[in-house]
């Protein structure tokens, strides 16, 4: 991979990672985001950017506002102050389904699958934004609707192959073990072929083996599909290994931003994690 890419020019705003991947320009730019719930300030004046093709981690102690940040990006919360720029354009306040149509997909901290549906149907549902046949065509089913269903099924089968979940294709997801449910949820997000993939604690509650599998999938998604990934994770080993750049939050404020090495040696970050005596 690196031998192929090392001759390429680095685009404006981009950089080269230590393993030789070329990171492109800014995909999403968050400027001075402030989010309040009544008197509680969940996010206080945070700015950072996510560049094309990178794996961006957001870390911080419990209650730091990481999930709120992800909810702001996916349109779930509308921040009181600040701007979100996506692909060089300022994003107006959007509903979550509109954000999804722009090419942002996500997974949830506590699995949010459609429990009554099979693995296949769950992942097929991930492609709603791409399916165009109207209700009348679907009611009759001959022609466009059936053709479209098969075309999308083919894409979904690719994802099923990629995530190695062929065996559970027709199992209702409610019956699956936790690790597999997480994987199906990743599949559902991938089905939308997103430009930006948000992962909210993709490895929470997993054992070492499952974590290794999931890390491999995240790296493969980034590598094979070129998907930009922003993830929240508590396992520091995983975060430092996977991510290109890390944002550190504490009490709704940004206390660090940079490569894993920079963050690891940042005094404010160490204080936040290990705790210091406040004078």
């Amino acid at each position: 991979m690196s031998s192929l890419t090392h001759k390429q020019e680095i685009p404006e705003g981009g950089y080269r990672t230590p393993d030789g991947r070329i990171i492109g320009g800014v995909l999403m730019d968050l400027k001075h985001i402030t989010l309040r719930f009544g008197g509680v300030v969940a996010i206080k004046d945070i700015s950072f950017d996510i560049r094309e093709g990178e794996i961006r981690a957001i870390i911080g102690p419990n209650g730091a506002g990481k999930s709120s940040m992800l909810n702001v990006i996916s349109g779930f919360y509308v921040p009181q102050e600040g701007e979100i720029w996506f692909r060089g354009q300022k994003r107006p306040p959007l509903k979550p389904y509109q954000v999804a149509r722009q090419g942002v997909a996500r997974t949830f901290q506590n699995i949010a699958l459609f429990k009554g549906m099979t693995t296949l149907d769950n992942i097929m549902t991930g492609r709603v934004t791409k399916m165009k046949s109207n209700m009348l065509e679907q009611a009759i089913w001959w022609g466009k609707a059936e053709r479209e269903e098969s075309e999308h099924r083919e894409k979904v089968e690719e994802i099923i192959d990629f995530l190695e979940i062929q065996a559970i294709r027709k199992t209702p997801v409610g019956r699956l073990p936790y690790g597999l449910q997480k994987r199906v949820e990743l599949g559902r997000a991938l089905a939308a072929e997103p430009d930006l993939l948000l992962l909210d604690e993709p490895m929470a509650g997993m054992n070492v083996e499952e974590k290794e599998d999931m890390s491999r999938f995240i790296l493969d998604v980034n590598d094979e599909y070129g998907t930009t990934i922003a993830l929240i994770e508590h396992d520091m080993g995983v975060v430092m290994d996977l991510s290109d750049r890390v944002v550190v939050m504490d009490y709704g404020k940004k206390i660090g931003d940079g490569t894993p090495d920079e963050v690891r040696n940042n005094q404010a970050v160490i204080d936040a994690y290990l705790g210091v005596v406040h004078e």
């Binding site: 979550p96 709603v128 934004t129 209700m135 679907q138 009611a139 098969s150 099924r153």
Partner: protein, 358 residues
């Protein structure tokens, strides 16, 4: 032993997603269709048509309609009776105002009118869920019955407040009115059931159906992956009400012939159809048929056994029936919340392994 998919290989996604993937199922389905269309019409008499087949077929349409809304899209509705009344009165007004147009179109347009009314009453579902939505639809039920009682225009200013279906024909054969043959009533109901069940199956297996189920299972996640809840919920209300409206039109024009709104389309009808889908199976087309068959056949069976066989007084048998239905609903809710359809599925799973389960 004979019921299994071994050797029945699927070589395309179209084949893999067909309605009856197992060969024996498919043959059974064709056999039932053949018997329904080519055998029963020649054997049917008035008793079987009026007591069993016609009500079963018409309630199946209503049950499929409610199942789309409640079983697939997860929006509880207690307004089925009211929406059936909309279909019935729309059909009555169309039949009397445009007698030269074919009754088939009247019934379809009645469905369309009911769909519009259903969407209007479905608007609160964007804000409220669960019990609160159920109460809102119950309000629709009471309001609609009140409206059809109160405004004489709906029943053409008839002295009794009743509506009665004039004679209308399809291909020269009477399908409504007092001179309708049993087989004609049966056939028109069967054709509607066949087409509508096929449409329901198509809708529920495609994108629209997945959107509905996504909203039902987890509305937040559905929105995050790109389902706009407004059209998804309203389309469920529209399609459901279309089915229920057609059921109401058929119920009045073909089955009853004459109807008084409070009696024929009161709240007890809403509950009857809801019981059908609970006992039959939420989120299943087969379950809608099973539930309709169960709730239509049970009274007939009990009457024959208790009154005809054991010689009980009629009123005692009627009370016993109410108690039995109540008990069955409780038993189903506790033991098998997914109804007869799930029992059928489990039986099929077992059958696939029989007689060597290990």
């Amino acid at each position: 032993m004979f019921y299994r998919e071994a050797g029945d290989f699927k070589t395309s996604y179209v084949e893999d997603s067909q309605t009856f993937p197992i060969r024996l199922d498919r043959r059974g389905y064709y056999a039932i269709i053949f018997i329904a269309f080519a055998v029963i019409p020649f054997l049917i008499n008035d008793y079987w048509a009026n007591a069993v087949f016609v009500p079963f077929l018409i309630y199946s349409i209503a049950a499929i309609g409610l199942n789309i809304l409640t079983g697939y899209a997860g929006q509880v509705s207690l307004g089925t009776g009211g929406f059936m009344a909309v279909g019935a009165f729309a059909c009555y007004k169309l039949m009397t105002a445009f007698p030269e147009i074919n009754i088939i179109f009247h019934i379809l347009i009645s469905g369309g009118i009911t769909a519009a009314v259903g969407m209007a009453f479905g608007l609160p579902s964007l804000r409220i869920k669960g019990f609160y939505l159920a109460v809102a639809t119950l309000a629709a039920q009471f309001f609609l019955v009140w409206l059809f009682n109160k405004v004489p225009w709906f029943y053409n200013y008839s002295a009794s407040g009743q509506i009665s279906a004039p004679e209308r024909t399809v291909f020269g054969i009477a399908v409504t009115g007092p001179h309708t043959a049993a087989w004609a009533k049966y056939m028109i109901s069967l054709v509607f059931v066949f087409v509508l069940a096929w449409v329901a199956r198509n809708l529920t297996r495609g994108t629209v159906g997945r959107k509905w189920m996504a909203i039902r299972d987890m509305d937040i996640a559905a929105e995050i992956i790109g389902v706009n809840p407004l059209p998804a919920k309203l389309s469920a209300f529209a399609v459901s009400s279309f089915f229920v409206g057609i059921a109401g039109a058929l119920f009045f024009a073909v089955y009853l012939g004459a109807a008084e709104v409070g009696e024929a389309f009161g709240p007890q009808k809403s509950f009857l159809v809801l019981f059908m889908i609970i006992i039959g199976g939420l989120g299943s087309i087969f379950g809608s048929f099973a539930g309709a068959a169960f709730m239509v056949l049970l009274p007939v069976l009990l009457k024959n056994v208790l009154v005809g066989g054991l010689g009980w007084p009629t009123d005692l048998a009627a009370q016993f029936e109410i108690m039995l239905v109540g008990a069955l609903i409780i038993i189903f809710l506790i033991a098998e919340p997914h109804g007869i359809a799930q029992l059928w599925r489990i039986t099929k799973e077992k059958l696939r392994l029989w007689p060597f389960p290990h």
